[in-house]
């Protein structure tokens, strides 16, 4: 039996557990849940007890019982009924009071924290998330923009303006806050706060079309100094590695074999310390091959990636896909579906439809959206160069 219940508790633990809360909003919501659980639990025990007792006690034991003279034909008892109604109402008051408190608390950043709160615009696209930092303006380039990984300072309230450019999405990071929808033509907002630095899983929670299941994102909470350093880094233009830069010993080439449709893109090594993995990705990796990077940068233009993506300070003006200025420093690609490894990036570039069927890079980039005819493909050699380039964008 303990094993049995232990198993159930395991079922409540995971990257998106609503029990392992890490911020005040999720905590307030969990507390309301516990209130409802207790009140309904007690009512359940009482009602179920009476029901069990009545069933066992008044059950006919044999056919003689069934054919005995009928029991007294009572029609009810108004006092009992009114009493039970009153008790039910009272039980609901127990739930209603903390519910109302939490509704107002969750709705808006508390007044005391308003001044220091960070404001971020979170915008839903089919099927990825864009994050804008309106307070962080870059000379000549406008607002700081990133994709799929929202970096926030721990211990500070974050107010999210939720928008959508196409269909309805919903922003949900279970450990930090319950969801609020991103609805076109509607200015929604929410707030959240991470108590400690951490790495949090999030996912779109409103059905938004073919790839809803693989529209995911991350929230990364950093200490204030780390966050400040990250901002400085992010505001810098895309990192350039000249083709004739001196190269150290090149890293061993990776093996690539397409693992097939829906194949998992996570690793247990990463999951063991995701924040540590994030830190490692912030600095250039050893064994870069400048020639390959330069070739990749050419391909980035030739394959018309620039039509949808931007690498700030280099080429690319497109805004319909995620900003790639610092793609090499992100932990995930393809809308949070794949860990940002060389093999996974290679897979994403050569077989986007196998990772996210119907994604826009495939339907409107690689193919003609009206006819479905192929415009181009990326072969293995091209993909290796593109991987080298994109991973150099730290």
């Amino acid at each position: 039996m303990p094993l049995f219940f232990g198993g159930w508790l395991n079922w409540l633990s995971g990257p998106q557990s609503t029990f392992e809360v890490a911020g005040p909003v999720a905590k307030a919501q969990l507390n309301v849940f516990y209130v409802t659980l207790w009140v309904t639990g007690i009512i359940f025990v009482l009602v179920a007890g009476v029901l069990t007792y009545a069933t066992l006690k008044y059950k006919a034991r044999n056919t003689a019982d069934e054919h005995a003279a009928p029991p007294p034909q009572g029609h009810g008892n108004p006092l009992i009924e009114l009493g039970l109604i009153a008790v039910s109402v009272l039980a609901l008051v127990f739930i209603a009071v903390p519910t109302l408190k939490a509704i107002w608390y969750d709705y808006e950043v508390p007044a005391a924290e308003k001044e220091t709160a960070l404001e971020v615009n979170a915008i839903g696209y089919q099927w990825w998330f864009k994050f804008e930092y309106p307070a962080e303006q870059i000379a000549g380039a406008g607002t700081l923009v990133t994709g799929n990984e929202l970096v926030i300072p721990a211990g500070r309230a974050v107010r999210l303006n939720l928008r959508s450019v196409d269909v309805i999405h919903s922003f949900w990071v279970p450990k930090l806050a319950g969801k609020v929808d991103m609805i076109p033509n509607r200015g929604n907002h929410m707030w959240l706060k991470a108590d400690e630095p951490g790495y949090f899983w999030g996912q779109c929670a409103e059905y938004c079309g073919e790839d809803h299941a693989v529209m995911r994102f991350r929230v990364i909470a950093l200490s204030e100094p780390d966050y400040a350093a990250w901002l400085v880094h992010q505001k810098a233009p895309g990192r350039v590695v000249p083709a004739d830069a001196p190269s150290s010993a090149p890293a061993a080439a990776y093996d690539y074999k397409n693992p097939g449709r829906n194949a998992p893109g996570y690793s247990s090594a990463f999951d063991a310390d995701p924040l540590g993995a994030w830190v490692k990705l912030q600095s250039p990796e050893a064994g870069e091959v400048p020639a390959s990077i330069a070739h990749g940068r050419q391909l980035f233009q030739q394959k018309n990636c620039i039509g949808c993506h931007t690498v700030r300070g280099q080429e690319g003006v497109g805004v319909s896909g995620p900003d790639l200025t610092h793609i090499g420093s992100r932990t995930t690609i393809a809308g949070g579906v794949l860990e940002n490894s060389k093999e996974n990036l290679h897979r994403w570039l050569t077989d986007p439809n196998g990772v996210k069927p119907g994604n826009k890079m495939w339907t409107t980039g690689y193919n003609d959206s009206a006819s479905g005819k192929e415009i181009f493909r990326i072969n293995d050699d091209e993909a290796r160069a593109l991987v080298a380039y994109l991973h150099s964008l730290k």
Partner: protein, 647 residues
Amino acid sequence: MEALVQAAPGSHETHAAPKRSWLFTRPTAKTGIVSWLTTVDHKRIGLLYAISALFFFLVGGFEALLIRVQLAVPNNTFITHQTYNEMFTMHATTMIFLAVMPLSAAFFNYIMPLQIGARDVAFPRLNGFAFWVFIAGAIILNIGWFVKSGAPDAGWFGYAPLTSKAYSNQFGGDMSTDLWVMGLQILGVSSVVGSLNFIVTIINLRAPGMTMMRLPVFTWMTLVTAFLIILSFPAITIALVELMMDRSFDSNFFEAANGGLPILWQHLFWIFGHPEVYILILPAMGIISEIFPTFSRKPLFGYPIIVFSGACIGFLGFGVWSHHMFTTGMGSVATAAFSLMTMAIAVPTGVKIFNWIGTLWGGHLKMRTPMMFALGFIWMFMFGGFSGIMHSAAPADAQQQDSYFVVAHFHYVLIGGSVFALLAGIHYWFPLVFGRKVSEFWGKLSFWIIFVGFNVTFFPMHFLGLNGMPRRTAVYDGNMGWNDANLVSTIGAFILAIGVGVYFFVMIYTYFKGEKSGRDPWDGRTLEWALPTPPPEHNFDVIPTIHARDAFWYEKHHQREISREQAVHAKEEESHGGIHMPSQSWFPIVAASGLLIGSIFFVNHIYAGAIAGGALMVLGIYFWAAEGPGGYHVDPAGHDDGSHGKH
């Protein structure tokens, strides 16, 4: 009403009037395919509803199994994302509109007129029309499986703007959403037509003495449900017409890109959608409220409170729709208001559970299969009700909304609640309809397999939802802690499927070879049990006079008084020339097929065909009016032993 009007003495119209043109010759076949296509008998129409609903119940269940196979293991490739999305869209649409609603309608049709001592519904041909329109809607909804564009895939709730042309028309020629829009509109016609018929029937055709506060609770819930349908379907019809305009004629009700308001869809949809939940559960509560008294051998505890709480649920059901929208950013005051309203609706619901337990208290409980399903209903409905209270607390709901916790919740309400009650109802009334009784061993076996399978399937989903698994997701990663619960759930789904299989097999076996049951096998309390099995076409040889709430129970305990009274009434009826019956007619099915043909052309944007189909429908309705109600008389003396009420 037709029946009443025509029953007036001096009416000599008969089905064989020789001078009428062939167009208006009424079909008279009593057996064979024509008799079913042209039937106006509420019992036959009820059976047609039941068979169609059970067929779609199996279709929807099959779709659910495909969903569960896909989710059995993480990162599965059993079906594609696209197919998965079609499956959950059609599973929900099928189960709600093509299985549970029509199965409830089957009971309304078959049982309700018998419970109020009527010989048919008020508008027999309209009743046939409602059924054939339902079939037309079902065909339109499912036609996508067989054509290139595929089945509808925008979810049963069809949130704008995902339903707009920009998103479901990506490579051109995708009419799946048009099929969904058209199918639901047609089903709405069927439901509203049927409901008006039931309302008029209950209000006008009750036997003498059957006051409103003597109505069996199932009939009461039929009435409340019918009002919910006629009041809530206009909202979704408006939304669907607007969406159809957007898709077919470039209007901009929901087109976000042109300033349309997607949130408007949600309000219109849920103003329909929440009452719809009660449309699905109130008939179930009505069935349960018949079964408990019968198998406890005592009257329903607190009848007036059960009736008023049912009506109260109906009223409050229109004031809670936005609890489906707690995450849409309504603002604190609106959220709080809908939160409190939702909590309030728990009270009349809880009251019903208290009263059912009160009915058991002090009874002689006969633990037959219907009773097992009914008790299963209470247990499962409690779970679903309690998780519903958890949703009503909006802050907690922010985590639960659109997660598997919600999936667990409403399956506890809709399977553990509605479906258990409907399965109980089938067992309960099977002897009345077919004169055979299901084996207790096999009935109980199917109950236990279904009960276990259901809980193994859906209980783990509570954990999945609270552990952050969103619904409507075709794949999930293996590192999220969702693997075990999903696998268990899938195993449960197959157990549930086996249980349903046993249930159906036993029903079919019983139909052919079951033990003959004779009249009133359960020691029933309501009027339908006064009838022989199967009931004759005219139901009651003599319209009964009602003296008490459990009318038939009263009759059984006051036999001398009743038989004296009936002898007098029989004489009166004879002097009217016997029992007047409505004639069969071709025009309901003709009008409905016009609707079907027109809709198919409309979805394909062939407007000339659409107009032709519409013309056929109008013509059908015109001839329907022109042929008149018709009618003929039967003489019960030559039909039955005429000993109504004797036992």
